[in-house]
């Protein structure tokens, strides 16, 4: 992710060679029974070739809709404004058929739930080889060989045996490996992952993350990894974007954002993770719940839940700006770092109340 500078929101600077995917002021409006909501609100983000970017946020923050907007797979009635530029081509301007051609060949998806993502009445092998047959024109036998090779690449022993299995004969981890093989089948440049490990056990999750790391490094594929779990993102991704109520509120390199969050929401999210090491602590909740999207708070959308909000937070306009060294934050404390809330000892704040 290249720091998107402040005023290049027009998306008219021509193709940027370094950025594989460039989102500019991307806004997705969804109709609901009670009025239109902006599920994704003016998000600008660059994804470099071969880099892994994590998008983190709570349920309903718009992270999955953002992925679906890149794919053009939005619910009926959704309206997209802004620009989605992939490899120099403006995707939003393409007809569905042209767009499908780009997606099938160059952008792949790994869905969240490995239990429902495969067709239950077809053997898994042909489901993998379908992509290469359609997009690369491979003959049946060549596509089969390709699928078996891919199954081997994602760490499945007896690949030719698994090729003939039905999804219900495989465990959750195996199915997720099959889905990764399927995503790799057309040699994509970009893989979009929508919480691919949330439905898995920690042990399997670790293996899948290691696998994704290995295949992306080996093939130089870029990755967008959507998750609510900052810890998972920190293991896999180079860069991170934090979303809250449809807006991108902080971006930067994963290591820097985790070591020194520059948005109060990011820090609250980090503190809610259960620690594995160190003293045993009580869970630290963010408190409150995300805002009603039909009735958003003024100013910073996080301020009603924010422990370090100031009166001006309720009125200042949203401003995602550079806060130094390629980092962006929309928080008033972005430049100076997030202070501890008043009357809150630093030690207690760090670890919650000790048990």
């Amino acid at each position: 992710m290249i720091p998107a500078t402040r005023d290049n929101g027009l998306g008219d600077r021509g193709p940027d060679e370094a950025a594989l995917l460039r989102l500019r002021e991307l806004t997705v409006s969804l109709p609901t029974a009670f009025g239109e909501i902006r599920a994704v609100d003016r998000v600008s983000l660059d994804i470099r070739r071969g880099s892994a970017v994590g998008i983190v946020g709570e349920s309903g923050s718009g992270k999955s809709i953002l992925l679906r907007a890149v794919l053009g797979l939005l619910p009926a009635g959704a309206r997209v404004d802004g620009s989605v530029r992939f490899d120099g081509r403006e995707l939003t301007a393409l007809r569905p058929r042209q767009r499908a051609e780009v997606h099938g060949r160059h952008i792949a998806v790994i869905p969240q739930d490995p239990m429902t993502a495969l067709n239950p009445v077809r053997r898994v092998g042909p489901q993998i080889s379908e992509g290469p047959r359609v997009h690369h024109g491979l003959k049946r036998s060549a596509a089969r060989a390709r699928a078996i090779e891919l199954l081997g690449e994602v760490g499945i022993r007896d690949a030719s045996e698994v090729y003939r299995r039905y999804p219900h004969e495989l465990s959750g981890g195996m199915r997720q490996r099959v889905l990764i093989a399927m995503a790799l089948a057309c040699d994509p440049q970009l893989i979009l992952c929508d919480e691919p490990t949330t439905a898995l056990d920690v042990t399997v999750q670790k293996k899948i993350i290691e696998l994704l790391q290995a295949v992306c490094a080996h093939r130089d594929v870029a990755l967008i990894f959507v998750s609510h779990d900052l810890a998972v993102v920190s293991e896999l991704c180079d860069d991170i974007g934090v979303m809250y109520a449809g807006q991108l509120v902080e971006t930067g390199r994963v290591t820097e954002v985790i070591a020194d969050p520059r948005h109060a929401y990011t820090r609250a999210l980090l503190r809610s993770l259960p620690p594995v090491d160190g003293p045993r602590t009580r869970p630290t909740s963010i408190g409150g719940s995300p805002p009603n999207r039909l009735n958003l708070p003024s100013g910073c959308r996080f301020h009603p839940r924010c422990p370090v909000a100031e009166p001006r937070c309720a009125s200042l306009p949203f401003d995602l700006r550079e806060v130094g060294d390629g980092r962006r934050s929309a928080c008033i404390h972005g430049e100076a770092g997030i202070p501890e809330p008043a009357g809150h000892a630093a030690a207690a704040g760090r670890n919650g109340a000790a048990l």
Binding site: V202, S234, I258, L273, P283, S285
Partner: protein, 274 residues
């Protein structure tokens, strides 16, 4: 929680699982290691006890037998051999309503656990009525108390489940379990389907119920970090067996079994410098 339980001797464990073995017939295929020919061994001599007022965790990955253990404890699965005692008595049968009440479950998926066509108040009220726990005229008030005890306002009495978030539904599921004043709350992966921030809310709720009401909790999870925040004691299961048990802090600090170490190493870590 209720007075009739207080008279029981404190030494009798609320849940006492002794050397329980559960097997399932296996169909063709299925290469499960550790299985015997023809039968899949889901629980292989599992013993576990939970004292009154304790909060005990069971951890292990999918397929290790956690959920079979829960099903066996509540009497939905008959063990091949071994005993399960609840409050010092054999596990209640399906027809024994008063006994069955002693064990209440909260499930993993808050979206499928609630009846979508019943308002929350109706659902809670039905339980109280069927089990004759409060006089009819007090039912609605009691439902309100239950919701308040899990941190939801009275407005939710008239709400349908579809209007609730995952965390709110899980609170309702916990209120439903509490309605019957159980001896033990069996929580089967109750936070796994929730966002990390909502997980913290639900864990804090369980800790509060445990500390303030003395609720006994058996907490099943695959995530050791979560178990650590909640439970005093932990049992680690692998392939149908308890491979390690002890105080949570001890198991975390010096895991004795290699499988426990594998589990601990699998948890994604972040560098906590803030």
């Amino acid at each position: 929680m209720s007075t009739d339980q207080d008279v029981e001797a404190a030494e009798v464990p609320v849940i006492d699982v002794r050397n329980v073995r559960v097997t399932f017939p296996r169909r063709h295929g299925g290469g499960d290691p550790g299985g015997r020919r023809g039968r899949l061994v889901a629980l292989d001599g599992v013993s576990l006890s939970v004292a009154r007022g304790e909060c005990v965790g069971v951890v292990g990955e999918s397929g290790c037998g956690k959920s079979t253990l829960v099903r066996t404890i509540v009497g939905l699965q008959k063990p091949d051999s071994g005993d399960v005692m609840v409050d010092g008595r054999a596990i209640p049968t399906i027809s024994d309503r008063a006994q069955r009440r002693r064990l209440q479950l909260v499930f993993q998926d808050p979206f499928s656990a609630l009846n979508p066509v019943l308002r929350i108040g109706t659902m809670l009220g039905e339980l109280l009525r069927v089990h004759r726990l409060v006089p009819r005229r007090d039912i609605r008030a009691r439902c309100g108390e239950l919701l308040e005890s899990v941190g939801l306002s009275l407005d939710y009495l008239d709400a349908y489940p579809h209007a609730l978030s995952g965390g709110q539904r899980q609170r309702v599921s916990i209120a439903r379990a509490l309605a019957l004043q159980p001896s033990v709350l069996l929580a089967d992966e109750v936070v796994s389907a929730l966002d990390v921030s909502v997980q913290a809310d639900i864990l804090n709720l369980l800790i509060r119920l445990h500390e303030e009401l003395g609720l006994t909790i058996l907490f099943i999870s695959h995530n050791l970090a979560v178990v650590r925040q909640l439970c005093d004691r932990v049992f680690v299961m692998n392939a149908g067996r308890v491979v390690e048990s002890g105080p949570t802090e001890r198991v975390f600090a010096e895991p004795a079994h290699s499988y426990t170490r594998t589990l601990l190493d699998s948890i994604p870590r972040i560098d906590r410098r803030w």
